[in-house]
Symmetry: C3
Subunit: 339 residues, 3 copies
């Protein structure tokens, strides 16, 4: 049901194919060759459509859905409408991701170099690289197989980008080494000078920023997000990180693997995150801190101190999340007494 002006569908896929693809278990599925045409949300799916039920907030939509098939956790199977084919799995959203990607595969380079792109003759382009109109590729760049550089993106001299990446329209990258399978969204700014200067009443003296941005594989950098290059050391983004729109990452920051940085978060210079850290929206992390593996920071928190592995914090200044909730309760009690 996705708008055909924007999306090009594959399929249909059979119950057997979907099960093989996702590892989910077909239930209430007498005919393994039955095929589904498309994926769609529970609310709008009909009997030809495959859907998913993950967030229990939407249980009513599941119970009332006309979807032909649905990924679901086993414990909700008995709440399904009578004729729905179920694919049970512990992670319905991940199974849906895989199935939806079969119906709507991710874009890869079509090998077309626009004659309106501007490419330095010393740049090295891999097989299947696609460069759209008005993109600008600097001297000695290296761009890996199948990577797409969209319209009006600017890739500075010497930048290395791996294979299977997409750099969105209007994004700019300089002083950076980027791995494979990365998605850089429109308007992202990667590799510019950090905010480095010696302050003083006689003026703020700019400090040359001599590091790079080094990004691993399978990283996403959101629309209009900004990642400054290192001041001397590098700014480093580990494999598998997801960085949302309008996030700011200062110079010398390091992210481990699989970190999730939600929209409008700011991370100040030289702070280091371990693996699988989650920073919720609009959180701010001050500079020169260490945030341990698996730490979680609540939305709008202001982190002023190191966080140990696995800890969850909230508030501004941030405290352990249970204390944060207690503070919130205490504050609300305080005013109830005064009434």
């Amino acid at each position: 049901m996705a708008d055909p002006r924007f999306f090009h569908r594959k399929g249909p896929f059979s119950i057997k194919e979907i099960a093989d693809l996702t590892g989910a278990t077909p239930v209430n599925a007498p005919d393994a060759e039955r095929r589904f045409d498309d994926v769609a949300p529970l609310q709008i799916a009909d009997s030809t459509i495959l859907s998913f039920f993950d967030n229990r907030k939407y249980i009513d939509a599941f119970v009332g859905s006309h979807a032909g098939a649905c990924f679901v956790r086993p414990e909700f199977a008995d709440r399904a409408p009578q004729n729905m084919v179920l694919f049970t799995t512990d992670d319905p959203y991940r199974a849906y991701a895989k199935a939806a990607t079969a119906y709507y595969p991710f874009e890869t380079g079509n090998g077309v170099i626009s004659d309106r792109a501007v490419i330095d003759p010393t740049a090295k382009l891999g097989t299947g690289v696609q460069i759209d109109a008005c993109a600008v590729i600097g001297a000695n760049c290296e761009i890996g197989d199948g990577t797409i550089i969209a319209s009006n993106a600017v890739i500075g001299d010497g930048v290395v980008i791996g294979s299977g990446c997409k750099v969105g329209a209007g994004a700019t990258i300089s002083h950076s080494l980027i791995g494979n399978l990365c998605l850089i969204y429109p308007g992202a700014r990667i590799g510019q000078d950090g905010f480095g200067f010696a302050m003083g009443p006689q003026g703020h003296a700019k400090v040359p920023q001599l590091g790079r941005v080094v990004i691993g594989n399978d990283v996403e950098v959101g629309a209009n997000a900004t990642i400054d290059r290192g001041a001397g050391p590098d700014t480093v983004i580990g494999n598998g990180c997801r960085i949302d729109n309008l996030v700011q990452i200062g110079h010398n920051v390091e992210l481990g693997m699989g970190c999730v940085i939600v929209s409008q978060v700011g991370i100040s210079g030289s702070t280091k995150l371990g693996n699988f850290v989650v920073l919720a929206g609009q959180a701010g992390i001050t500079g020169h801190l260490e945030i341990g593996d698996g730490a979680k920071v609540a939305a709008q928190s202001g982190v002023m101190k190191n966080i140990g592995p696995g800890e969850t914090v909230g508030g501004s200044p941030a405290v352990p999340v249970m204390d944060y909730h207690k503070q919130t309760v205490a504050l609300s009690r305080l005013i109830r007494k005064k009434k």
Copy 2:
């Protein structure tokens, strides 16, 4: 007095013309044919100039102004300088908006297609459409009469934009349907993938984002603001909404009519706003919430729960605004006691 390098003035307009245009009532205006050359703030206006007095914080500027004429609420008329022509109205700022627009009409397309623009031959352009240098227009786009696409803007395949719109320099739009009379400011990002993935220690699996962004008529989207397309449903922006710079709007978010979203606000995925909701600067709204018609959220608030129609909330986490003020007072008392 606007700098002629940047602004091209019409007029002058007579008292009668100004009254007809704005609906305001001339007072102290013996000669209805007297004309005013320009509009300007109270502080710098002279006797040839039309001004306005709206924010009572600036009463001294009104009382001491040399402006020839001024839009003013009736109750302040007797504070005016002796020779000032008054246009009384209950909404001086709106009357000024209309008059200023007569002196400085909004830009509309001049019908010139730059030979340095890159336009797919299947794109359909209305009458008077203006496409500036290095703008890129994709396949099967439809762009309505008189719309301007400024330099370096990128309009993706299939995008539909109505008439009388302006897409600012360097903005990018994909997977979107946009109504009439919309202003998209420079660097705005509309229609890119939302932040959708199935998290897990084995990596975060990207979920195809199969919806669109659907924007009504008379909508403004600020500079470097980001609006992600829907994941399956659409992201929807109602008629007359005003979205300021650097705002983030997540996938599947819906805004009713006339919402005002101030700079640096973030709205997480699947949250739905009613009509005429106001979110003040840097507020954050968590996902999957419902915000009722006419609700107001104070600056920097963190909204974690639904808000009913007409309610005003503040604080992080947000509470009814009176409670928020009481909490602030209670906190300040708490430390006074401890001294």
Copy 3:
């Protein structure tokens, strides 16, 4: 040690040259002609390298460093490794900035105008101006000597930019007068309409924005930052200001000299800052306020009232910083009692 793909080094420089350049005093430096090849952080520098020690958090790195030379405050000289040449100075970071700039001078225009740039014939370009591919320069622009306009930047009609500036890739500037030696980072948006409209249930009427952005000398505007032009008065940024990434500056805002505005700060319309004001990350300042010379605002603060010269505030709503710390302590005590 900076990556030669991205950085082009000058030098080496002798102890005498470095001392002359920076005003620092050589200590433990028997041979004034000894030369150092490069600058680098303490942790990775070897005996051919000049480094600096400024933040005492990194004292261990200093004590254990193999750097050949180091800028250091006199009081730490006796903690230096035995063979390290020291350059003592009260401001090691500023001395390092000067030295590093000698090794890695800032870019200036190379006088090349790309034949893929689009330049209105009425634009006036100074000597040595560099215009990169797909940059667009409007009618009657004036661009001073040695200024660089990077790829895909868009300079609107009538804009004046001084000498020695760099406008980064994809930045857009309109309705603005900009001084000398300014650095505008990629994706910055300067001069677009402010968020001005008369609100009302019949729709929000757009108010023409008739002012400009006037920027002094030696100003930096960060990546994807936004500065709206004035509504009638101008938006003014004083000499020497440093504005970080993703900052929002509303219409009619005025900044004095040397202000430092850290990432993701928002300043609402018509607020005026004095000289050398510092706003830390994610702070928000409401409109129509006055912030005195030398005032400091802590990260994430929400400023709702004027701030006097030299005052420091914190919290949301912001209060004097000592009160803010006391509030934080009081809150944490409150929940300890309840356990």
